[in-house]
Symmetry: C2
């Protein structure tokens, strides 16, 4: 993509007036962005001394400082490296109606990492994939991402470095790393070109800007910003249709229907339970230590019918764990700030670091159950979630995480019994709300949503574990033993 | 306080039944805590091998894991050291109705820092002050803080270390640091004792627990937890009265009344303005570099009448700044999560790191203006804020921050003119809301609240700068020049 991107054409003053006009437009657009709740990400990559800093200053000068944020991407810190690569970028996506300007970005994890950190071809290819998926997910949600690559020739770069070095006030800006990169201009050129090619998607294309002439650069960049933002503001908000075969890429398990789950005879005597629990607790504690030692992040997801016993199961697990190494995260309806971001944002913000466990009491699967059935999110937006969720989980697994998903299953009679018991117990009344009764009336709708969810998101690497939970004791032990099996297997597989 | 805290008395099985009863009580109390929206902090400090870990496990085993969080305090990381000392503790205070268990805490910054990091006596005394203020502010707000110090004798500690070392599975737990501390038991004893003495406040007293006998330890700790929590739940929620002379400790400036501010003849010709702005911008840019280099955090607070020109002033400042070194934070009405914490929590979360600037567009002063006048917060709670805010700012300054507070002042006629201009300009209509008109009707109430605010929070180190803003150009230049003066002075004073 870099070939022929540079031009020798002389640039004159022609653009000055046009640029002034564009500046005015851009300044006026920020209010529209806010009104339309359009989230905008402007991202600048490019060569050293290609003028990123100046350009960012030029752009934001036109905007209200309370309305945008500027982020400079540094190499990931030690602490950041304990999380999935994309976490620090997800955390910083703008709210709907706000704007972020990125001085370097997730693209540092691609070409630069390939050149300087020695990541393998395979890792590089995976990261390309990850980045394309990330940008597609945001774009699908309505984010506008405008990507600039600022390009200069080797000769021009040399000239600029020399000029910087001449002046005592600026010579510190030319670092050893800059010199090294300049010396290997050709190799970097090839790598950048490859990266640009592979991430130049239909939904998020690159804009290669020849920055040899500053005035012309400004004109081009402002022109692109104004036209792209105007476009996004004026277009009707629609959700893209998910390709019919979108789920084919995932290794899905054969579908299971809740109606086929046998709940009778799945019970445990209290004395047997006590023995089993004691054993399981000890083993889980041991495995927690192993996980910690081998820096494996573990994510547990608990879903299930109201009153199915999620809380009780989570409690039994947590008894076995060192409190400094796990966190239980209850997921309620999203608050205002969460509603103002891509729905996966709040889950990215709560992922465990290496060696730690996060237990989600309800999860991102709310998107395809409650949000769908209660009409909180439009049907067509919910339909997109199966692929997004599979991608999300696949990425976490690729980076080393273990994901355990549980559906706690009871039948309608058992639920009624438990609801009534709660209603009549003064100590448990708080656990039962009108909403629970209302949900119960929609049992059939939920059941078919759960069946669809299981069919579409039970992947080989992160399968749903359906737990027969009419008997609480049986359910708890089955949950714990499932965790023990999966973690043991994982530790064995990783050669520890 | 440690003297006579240990006892040779033999402990029998007597406590077993009592402890069981307490366990049940504690478990039942968590629902009450939630209902009453009581925030609880349980904090454990003590000697190495005094049994903190076991005790924490004993306590949380009784609780729903979705309801509490456990935090282990490690030495502050490089990144954390770039913020005020208490920031990382403020960030983690529980929400109303939730519970945190702290395995070590801010007390690491006192005795341990004195023994091992060589902080001066003066610094130590300041930190004692800081911690006492922090705990008082939380307690005043209704937080229940229960502080345990787990105590064992030198002999007992030796015995425990030996036992740990005997077993291959546990010997790694006795670190070099433990050995060093054990060797200097007497010196640490003295330092701990001093710390306990100085932080044993009426509102937040220490509980010294002799942990020689584990069963008795559990009994004592559970007993204290149950009685303190029950007590807090059953007491009527009242706000403590602020002592009449509470503001005497702050170096307050002589009060100024808005009515005495002359607004006429404070204007600037546009050409003069352009010159001044250019000059100021250059100087501010230079100072921003200095601040960054010398790692000074800067906090700017903008308050003022609606339409007084806060946004415009902030914009002019930001033009002069490197976007990677400052952030503008607009403060709106608190969201649900923010309302569920001490009101200063969200401001602690937004402080600048060393070398950076945070510009607050509205601020914590909302507490004594809009929250007070609109009755969002009870009058008696608002009345407590003057001291709290002075303490907050004083602490930031003590840790090296510069605080610049601006009140942008216009008169009632000028506001009307601007409101009407906004109403009639399609590009500016969004800036004017019904609320603005309603606020305007309460002009006199606001004026007297502002006068009180200025009188009670204009300290010598963080004085209010009242900016005559009937002429926007004049106001912007005065703001910028004030910033320039204060920052130059600060850089000079710090010897750079």
């Amino acid at each position: 993509m870099l070939e022929n991107a540079l031009s020798d054409k002389g640039r004159s003053d022609d653009y000055k007036e046009l640029t002034n006009e564009l500046e005015k437009n851009l300044s006026a657009l920020q209010q529209k962005i806010r009104e339309k709740k359009l989230p905008v990400i402007i991202l600048l990559e490019g060569w050293g001394a290609s003028g990123k800093g100046t350009l960012i200053a030029d752009v934001i000068k036109l905007l209200d400082p309370r309305f945008f944020k500027v982020y400079s991407t540094m190499p990931a810190s030690e602490a950041e490296r304990r999380y999935p690569m994309m976490k620090r970028y997800w955390e910083k996506i703008p709210e709907y109606g706000a704007l972020s300007v990125l001085d370097r970005s997730w693209y540092q994890e691609l070409a630069i990492a390939k050149m300087e950190e020695g990541i393998s071809d395979e890792e590089y290819a995976e990261r390309v994939d990850t980045v394309n998926t990330f940008e597609r997910q945001l774009t699908d949600d309505g984010y506008l991402i405008i990507k600039f690559f600022l390009h200069i020739s080797r000769k021009e770069q040399k000239k600029r470095f020399l000029k910087l070095k001449e002046d005592n006030a600026t010579k510190w800006r030319v670092t050893e790393l800059d010199k090294k990169r300049h010396k290997n201009y050709d190799a970097y050129y090839k790598q950048f070109d490859d990266m640009l090619e592979k991430t130049n998607t239909e939904y998020c294309p690159w804009k290669i800007i020849d920055t040899t002439d500053r005035r012309f650069t400004r004109f081009q960049v402002f022109n692109i910003l104004v036209s792209q933002i105007t476009n996004a503001i004026n277009s009707e908000r629609t959700y893209p249709e998910v390709p019919k075969d979108a789920l084919k890429q995932f290794d899905l398990m054969p579908p299971v229907s809740l109606a086929d789950i046998k709940l009778e005879n799945k019970s445990l005597q209290p004395t047997k339970y006590d023995d089993e629990l004691k054993k399981a607790r000890k083993e889980l504690a041991r495995l927690h230590g192993k996980i910690y030692k081998h820096k494996i992040p573990v994510i547990m997801v608990f879903e299930g019918w109201d009153a199915a016993g999620k809380g009780g199961a989570i409690k039994r697990i947590s008894y076995a764990l060192d409190p400094r190494g796990y966190e239980a995260v209850p997921i309620a309806a999203p608050d205002k700030k969460e509603l103002n971001h891509h729905y996966l944002w709040r889950f990215w913000n709560n992922l465990p670091k290496t060696g730690h466990i996060t237990i989600f009491d309800r999860s991102w699967y709310g998107r395809v159950m409650v949000e769908r059935i209660e009409g909180i999110t439009p049907e067509e937006r919910c339909a997109m979630a199966y692929r997004e969720i599979n991608e999300f989980e696949e990425e976490l697994i690729r980076e080393g995480a273990v994901i355990l998903k549980f559906w706690l299953h009871i039948d309608k009679d058992e639920q009624l019994k438990r609801f009534n018991a709660r209603k009549n117990d003064p100590l448990k009344q708080w656990k039962i709300t009108d909403e629970d009764w209302r949900n119960r009336e929609k049992w059939d709708k939920y059941e078919s949503a759960v069946n669809e969810m299981i069919a579409k998101t039970s992947t080989k690497k992160a399968p749903w574990n359906i737990i027969e939970a009419n008997d609480k004791l049986y359910a708890r032990i089955k949950v714990m033993n499932t965790i023990i099996d999966v973690l043991s297997e994982c530790i064995k597989r990783s050669g520890h």
